[in-house]
């Protein structure tokens, strides 16, 4: 018990101590969180009327971010599988960082749902076992089970591994395997359930497509590793963590392949919707072509497609992939491209036109934007705080007997 306490206290100390640059980073992030909090207080006082949403477009940038972040969380398996199942030593060195990212993404996804609720004060009504949960009929009830479950798994496994490392030991591969397999299956389930949240909706032809689940996975396995690769580059530059060429190449290749699968499915979707457009294709037409004057998302989705194609082009040329600047550029394009395509580009067109044919566009307000930015700062903060002890312990700076 005392060792566990010391582990916790030591970890806490590394989280809260650092050089001036580290404090500056924390200060900026905390400031961002506070700004978001102030905006959220506005929203609590006046209701969701301060957002750009309405009875026509009932979900907006909050649920868009939620959807994107669930993908980022699930994508941690792309590191977990090579590290634990295939025993790749290089991947093992960054797997805890990937899991920390999954924890931050998961927590952030939950928070984005909470800020979207009309009655966050009644949140207890949705806690399984404590309340009347419509399980298994409601897909949202599934998500309420799956997301916190994934969060717990991704906290417990890395904590156990880290604690063992702290004591200078390693956990036996055989004993960990069942939990690792659970984590892998849970990650896939997490993302498929979130896709089915949309697919289950017969009222929205744009979402009611069997392609949506596979597309969710492909885009997640592109954006997650791309984000991780970017983050690892930053950590390589500012901390003692080293990003090896093997990890770099593997993550870049995963991104390149997943992104191409995603683009193929996107092309299939565009063809199906637009070759002989029916009334059910109106949402897709709104997204890709615009409906008359209503074309708010057209420039965004076209930019997203251009970003993803450019990223694939960079990643598929070995010389470009090996160079740091083009690689980081491809990572950023992938992350932003998928964020648009799977966030706003998926959620908002579902509502346009409404089931009764009304076309009302959606633009997030300043309050929504600030709340979202505040939450992203909070997510980054969670990640940074988790990454500190991970790096310190793994690099041998921190331990029972350092």
């Amino acid at each position: 018990m005392t060792i566990l306490m010391r582990f916790a206290l030591d970890s806490l100390r590394v989280m809260l101590r650092g050089g001036p640059r580290y404090y500056a980073l924390l200060a900026v992030l905390v400031l961002g969180v506070l700004v978001g909090l102030a905006a959220y207080v506005q929203q609590l006082q006046h209701g969701l009327i301060v957002t750009g949403m309405g009875d026509q477009v009932t979900w907006g940038v909050y649920i868009a971010n939620f959807t994107f972040l669930v993908g980022v969380a699930a994508a941690a398996v792309m590191v977990v599988i090579p590290a634990y199942v295939f025993g790749d030593a290089e991947m093992k060195r960054v797997v805890l960082i990937a899991e920390a990212m999954a924890v931050a993404a998961c927590a952030l996804a939950l928070l984005f749902v909470i800020v979207d609720l009309g009655r966050p004060d009644r949140m207890l009504n949705i806690v399984p076992l404590l309340s009347h949960v419509n399980f298994p009929r409601s897909l949202l009830a599934w998500d309420v089970v799956v997301i916190p479950g994934y969060l717990v798994i991704n906290l417990v496994i890395p904590a156990a591994v880290l604690f063992a490392n702290y004591r200078g030991r390693t956990l036996s591969h055989r004993r960990m395997m069942p939990v690792i397999l659970l984590a892998i299956l849970w990650a896939i389930a997490l993302h498929v359930v979130t896709a089915f949240l949309y697919v289950a909706d017969v009222a929205k032809p744009f979402w009611h497509s069997p392609l949506l689940g596979p597309r969710f996975l492909a885009s997640a396995f592109a954006s997650g590793p791309a984000l991780l690769l970017g983050v690892l580059h930053v950590l390589d530059a500012v901390t003692s963590l080293r990003l090896s060429d093997g990890v770099r190449r593997l993550l870049a290749n995963i991104t390149a392949i997943a992104l191409q699968i995603n683009l193929v499915m996107l092309a299939a979707e565009i063809f199906t919707e637009l070759y002989r457009p029916t009334e059910h294709s109106l949402s897709a037409r709104y997204l890709f072509l615009g409906l008359g004057e209503a074309d708010g998302l057209v420039i965004w989705i076209r930019a997203a497609i251009a970003m993803e194609v450019t990223a694939v082009a960079i990643l598929m040329v070995p010389r470009l992939q090996r160079a740091t600047a083009p690689l980081l550029c491809a990572c950023a394009l992938t992350v932003f491209g998928v964020w648009i395509e799977k966030g706003m580009g998926l959620v908002v067109p579902g509502f346009i036109p409404t089931p009764l044919g009304e076309v009302v566009e959606y633009v997030p307000t300043m309050v929504e934007t600030l709340v979202s930015l505040g939450l992203w700062c909070l997510g980054t903060l969670i990640f940074v705080l988790l990454a500190r002890p991970i790096i310190a312990i793994n690099e041998g700076v921190l331990g029972e007997n350092p």
Binding site: G54, R122, L139, D201, V202, A203, L356
Partner: protein
């Protein structure tokens, strides 16, 4: 509209399907029965968990009565007039249905405004349960329908009118969507919302193929003196902010044998409301003798709302 007791019928859904298909004579025999879900038995709420709000359907009679009394005091104080909140249960042998004559509807929208007053809909901005669509004569096409038509007089040349509200689907996708059972179908077929349980996630709204649900984006307000004081817990009682609501076929009226406000307000008599299980009801006459159709029947939601032509 009389509520009569009949021997149970195994499948109400089949009956509705047949009716929807317009096979009126066959429907007559099928509909001669009823199959109603038994109302939930009140159970004793567990002491420790009473910290969490007990679900309405699991409250004891005493808990419900105490809650209604508390709500009456609260609403009366806030609206400076005595407000009654009842929870009249579904009558036996009743399944409510609506039919609307597209020939008689002239787009006056009196139903829309009567509904706002009767159901104490928020006025800031004004919420409306009924949306009257203006469509070109000769087609029933929702894409391109005009939602906020504004002519000096209606009906406009070459236009027809299609009022849409909650159809109280017999297989409601919105009820499936709700993660916490805050919305459900009552034994008389009305889909209701417990405004004190809803967390405002709006998943039910995305699930509705008829755009029938509304959200309180702010705390709704009704000017003092304009509140309809005869309210039902699952219907027109004052709503809090941040929750979803919808048409309840005027549950506060229809469960006491009255007609819905929209039906009473219609100057052309386009609306026919009644008990689908009563073979002598006017709605049964319409379903059996007129050409009827339902919106988006291919989605298998089984609306209990038919459009007809004379």
């Amino acid at each position: 509209m009389s509520a009569r007791r009949e021997p149970p019928c195994p499948s109400r859904r089949v009956a509705l399907k047949v009716l929807g298909a317009g096979a009126a004579t066959a429907a007559g025999s099928l509909l001669a029965g009823r199959s109603l879900a038994e109302p939930a038995e009140p159970t004793e709420s567990a002491g420790f968990w009473s910290f969490f709000r007990t679900h309405y359907k699991e409250m004891t009679r005493g808990e419900v009565d105490a809650m209604l009394a508390r709500l009456e005091r609260k609403y009366s104080r806030r609206h400076k007039q005595p407000v009654k909140v009842v929870n009249t249960p579904a009558p036996d042998g009743v399944l409510f249905g609506f039919a609307l004559s597209l020939e008689r509807c002239k787009g006056y929208r009196d139903c829309v405004h009567a509904c706002v007053k009767e159901n104490n809909l928020g006025r800031n901005p004004e919420m409306q349960y009924i949306r009257v669509l203006e469509i070109d004569r000769g087609e029933v096409k929702l894409a391109g329908a005009v939602h906020e038509y504004d002519h000096p007089t209606v009906p406009a040349e070459g236009k027809a009118y299609l009022p849409v509200q909650c159809f109280q689907c017999d297989d409601p996708p919105c009820v499936d969507a709700c993660p916490i059972d805050a919305t459900w179908m009552e034994p008389d077929g009305i889909v209701v919302v417990d405004y004190d349980h809803c967390i405002g996630c709006r998943y039910c709204m995305t699930a509705c193929p008829y755009w029938a649900r509304r959200f309180n984006w702010t705390t709704p307000s009704v000017p003092v003196g304009e509140l309809n004081p005869d309210t039902h817990y699952l219907g027109n009682r004052p709503r809090p902010g941040g929750v979803v609501e919808k048409c309840s076929y005027c549950i506060q009226r229809t469960r006491q044998g009255r007609q819905p406000a929209c039906q009473e307000a219609c100057p052309t008599g386009a609306r026919v409301f009644g008990n689908l299980l009563d073979p002598d009801s006017e709605i049964r006459y319409v379903l059996e003798h007129k050409t009827v159709f339902r919106l988006k029947e291919e989605l298998s939601t089984e609306p209990k709302f038919w459009y007809f032509t004379d």
